[in-house]
Amino acid sequence: MQASDQPITQDAPTADRTEPQAQVKRKVTFQCRNLTVELGSSEGATCICRSVNFDVREGEFISIMGRSGSGKTTLLRILGGLLAPTPDSSVRYYGERVEGPPPGVITVFQNYAASLLPWRTVEKNVALGLEGKVGREEARERVADALAMVGLGKRAKDYPWRLSGGMQQRVQLARALAMRPSVLLMDEPFGALDAMTKTSLQDELLQVYERTGATVVFVTHDIDEALYLSDRVLVLQGDPSTIGESLPVHCSRPRHQIETKQSEGFLALRRKVYEAIMQRHE
Amino acid sequence: MSSRSRRLGRVNWPGLLTLALLAGAWEATVRWSLLDYQYLPAPSAIARGARTLLASGELIPNVLHTLMVTLIGWSIASVIGIGLGLLLGLSPTAYRYSMTSFEVTKAIPPITFVPATLLIFGFSLRMELVIVVYVGVWPVLINTIGGVRGVPGELLDLGRMLHMSSWTRVRKLIVPAAVPEILVGLRLGLTLCLVLAVVAEMVGNPAGLGHALVRAQQALQPEKMFAYVLSAGVLGITLNALFRSAASWMLPPPAGGPEGGTP
């Protein structure tokens, strides 16, 4: 299944084309070929994805969409090295086979409450991945930087339960940022938050993205969110699923919650993604 | 899958095998005296002991005595526990003016009352019954209070909305909502009643499984002791299982389906 990297929107606004040539030349961060996933249970294996092919290029912001059960999260767990695909699949990170979490690739989970350690303060949670790997002084600095980046500098000594959901998710993001990641894998990170918190976190994420230059793979079921954040949207279709569409988002950065979301290009793409998700494979 | 093969599939073969292996190891240990315990009987000797007890008619009357005391004591304890629990659960005044007393008394391990009741009632069936009733009241009482006071506020609002009288509310909303927790208390009570019956028999009332156990100990007959302990265990499992099936017959099936995992 080839995912076309061609802009499918002929009527995309010409003003904000983000040099497609440059994108092609960028290094391939993740390369997935013939990716097939089977999840085993006592009743036998279920095939979730079949022969999925796609590349993630360095510095790219990619969203993965699809109906629930289409294997978005599974795909992300495979990229993060938390789950192994079938042996004949090939998943490479800068040319290396992914076997276990690759260095520099950090996953941010939807369930922030379950992924933070309740017995550690905010700063100690953020420091978790650094302990024993960098010096004390550097760890302290990185933790402070990361917390400042997500606007939580003042809550460093609090325990997670004292923080709102949005803040807890910021802590998780800070914990990832403290690792100076080259890739952020985000699994519906804002899915459990209310609409207002969600938009402000989206903007913060975009700022972080600009500043760190990290590659982001973002799983979401919110079309607006995917389009607003990404350079490209992959849509999973079918059962077992494959990449049905790969839609570049030609909206200029920095983006704006109102203007970007009301631009014609955005609205047209929104319709396309919606149709791609709803389409049935018979 | 037919229900029969399913049931066969559900038999825990590795588990039973482990149990059999352990019993085998025990047997071997005793046969070849790998461990130096003079009074450790082999499983085969215990089985023989149990058969002797059954044949000589020593076992059944003792089991029946313990069973009878347990059931009578438990019934009395349940009536007291539920009655008192409803009173304390429904009346905030009664609760406020007595709960600390109950909690202080509850802190005293009931086992220590065994010598005291022995002083008062002597070696008798009465002594055994008093102990069994006393120990059985606690879980029923505590769970009844908890169940009644834990009735969700929405349910009480519903009662008010439908203009139920307070008696109707108690009868149709509060007590039914508290039944699952009361049942848990009753089950705990049943187990405790049995255990304390055996203990009371060991110390005070010369009858039943507990007394037979002590007599076997004095006669240095470990295989009989094991047989009596096993009987007490089987009695406990049986009572528990009977209670569970009775309770599940009384209650609607839980919304979340049965609890996972093999027992």
Partner: protein, 279 residues
């Protein structure tokens, strides 16, 4: 809706329930003392009506003098120390063994299946009834006491640990792996702290059982301890001493609970408020 019901005038039952809970948390002495009333009345009536020479119900004041006498000749202290020693060693052993086995059984469904029936069988044997067997096999000594109490206390800890292992969120383990934590670090920094509440809950449930079984073993076997002292006082017809020692036993079990509660709120001070521990 909560606020609504609270302001409604006729929701007396609920309001008072909430007030009661609130009060208990703030530990104002007043409602607690108020609740002591029936006990105080009972003891006062007993004091006034009972005759000091009664072989059954000597008044509470005689308990006091019996206690003082026991304290003065050092018997009481020795007994309390003996009981607490057995209790602590046994609870410690039960915690280590129970948590260890619970960890294995919770982590491996195969081990759980293989050991399940054996555990079920062993657990069904009433520990009280095991006492005579234990004395026959091990003799009348500390080892026997500790063994019986450990075997009685281990199940609550084992089962709670097993449940705790099963409840650990996969996300937590994924997060630790994603952050490149090594296996040892994952166990030390994530899994063990995540299990502590479950293990501790097990200990909270096991502790009263351990107290009861310790006293029971002492009552049945007369190996030194508070239980043995009670049984001995009963056999020598000293009712005042029996009642006094019952109070001591109650105080001991209260103390054990309070100490464990303090440890719990210290260890889990990161948790919101005092989450109600075990029963």
């Amino acid at each position: 809706m909560t606020a609504q019901t609270a302001t409604r005038p006729d929701s007396g039952r609920q309001q008072s329930a909430r007030e009661e809970r609130g009060n208990r948390k703030r530990t104002t002495p007043f409602p607690l003392l108020r609740g002591l009333l029936p006990l105080v009345v009972l003891l006062s009536v007993w004091e006034l009506a009972g005759s000091p020479g009664s072989p059954y119900f000597p008044p509470p004041s005689t308990w006091g003098s019996a206690l003082i006498a026991l304290w003065e000749n050092g018997v009481l202290l020795a007994a309390v120390v003996a009981t607490l020693t057995t209790f602590s060693i046994a609870l410690g052993a039960a915690t280590v063994l129970g948590a260890g086995v619970g960890l294995v059984v919770g982590g491996s469904p195969a081990a759980d299946r293989a050991l399940g029936p054996t555990f079920e069988f062993a657990r069904a044997m009433p520990p009280a009834a095991m006492v005579p067997i234990a004395t026959l096999l091990l003799g009348y000594d500390e080892t026997m006491k500790v063994t019986v109490v450990t075997l009685a206390a281990i199940w609550a800890i084992l089962l709670n640990t097993r449940a705790g292992v099963r409840r650990i969120d996969q996300t937590l383990l994924d997060a630790a792996r994603s952050l490149q934590l090594g296996k040892l670090d994952r166990i030390r920094k994530v899994i063990v702290p995540a299990l502590l509440p479950a293990i501790f809950l097990g200990v909270r449930v096991a502790a009263p059982i351990a107290v009861v079984i310790t006293l029971l073993v002492e009552i049945l076997t007369n190996v030194e301890g508070v239980g043995a002292l009670i049984a001995q006082s009963q056999r020598t017809f000293q009712p005042a001493r029996v009642y006094a020692l019952i109070v001591v036993a109650g105080a001991l079990s209260f103390l054990v609970n309070a100490v464990l509660g303090a440890i719990e709120s210290y260890v889990f001070r990161y948790r919101p408020s005092t989450a109600g521990g075990g029963e």
